[in-house]
Amino acid sequence: MPETLTPIISSRKVRGRVYVDRNRCKGCGFCIEFCPPKVLSFSASFNEHGYHSPELVRPEGCTGCDLCGLYCPDFAIFAVREPRPVPSAERGASET
């Protein structure tokens, strides 16, 4: 079961949720470099093979685009998109 990093609620219409299987990571940095909003960073700690795996440092900026998942040569990270739960007051307003 991969260790998960769960973003906090973002202000976007969609938000991303990133999953990292830390011990599969070999620290290449592809996901960090090519994440469009640059929300990932190397963790300070080592995984069990001695690599620094990525962590989500700006969860509110993740769009769930899954480019990290496409780039990762070690199948250690991926992301999903989920709709932001719309607060009921806002929902009422947008219908008028």
């Binding site: 769960t6 949720r17 599969r24 070999k26 998942g69 040569p73 070690d74 199948f75 999903v80």
Partner: protein, 292 residues
Amino acid sequence: MSEAIGVQPVNPVEPFLRTERMPHIWCPGCGIGTTVNCFARALVSSKLPLDKVAVVSGIGCTGRVAGYVRLDSFHTTHGRAIPFATGLKLANPELTVVVYSGDGDLIAIGGNHFIHAARRNADIKVICVNNFIYGMTGGQVAPTTPTAALATTTPYGAFERPFNLPFLAESSGAVYVARWTAYHVRHIAHSMSEAFKKKGLCFIEIIAPCPTLYQRRNHFGDGLEAMRYYKQKSVVRNGANTRDVQIDLQGEIVVGKFVDIERPTLKQAMDLQLRQKLDLPPSNGGGSHELD
């Protein structure tokens, strides 16, 4: 960080992997795994029935793909992926047959098979991961090594002219030819799904980092440095004349879809001729050219 709620989603590549064989042998920053993500996404989007997809590889680091995908697959001897795949497709025409291998395997020892499969328009999809070197055996020069690049067997730099693979594929007869780098992940996935739908020999070259041998020996940095180079130095030129897409050492990399034409496949040509010569009725409907 809080826990995820509900059922954990799985990595989209996971259902396509023999997870019991993970972690794989590829080095940190090797680009082969990146291409496998694209392959998995392309299989999902093209909705092919997975029991009708077969992957055939030769020997090499890239050749390992056949052993890692949870699909019918065959890891052939060095250079022989294409003849195996051609036979597989002729014997079982309902399969989508994908050849997934390295530049050395496909174009050096397997080069003759490659040009003839393209000439005959065998209905196979050839994915060539080009890291400019023989990875698995320790970084020897390949027919794709850019002139002046260092390899274990060219300590003063390669002095031969490398193949321009899209040009080779097109002039040999391939009906679909594209080139991307491992940086172009969405384009790769898109090209792969186009190739899955198309009949005939489709060739996709993917320039990918071999940090351990090619990058390091040439002092080009690690895998990430290679990816930065691809990002900076590649230009998308769909429809470019394949004569003009030769890659020079650390030079510009022209990427894009270069060829997308129609031509009868090997089996279609054979069936058509047999029908005519043996006076058989034309195949009935469905665009199928099979002799039933």
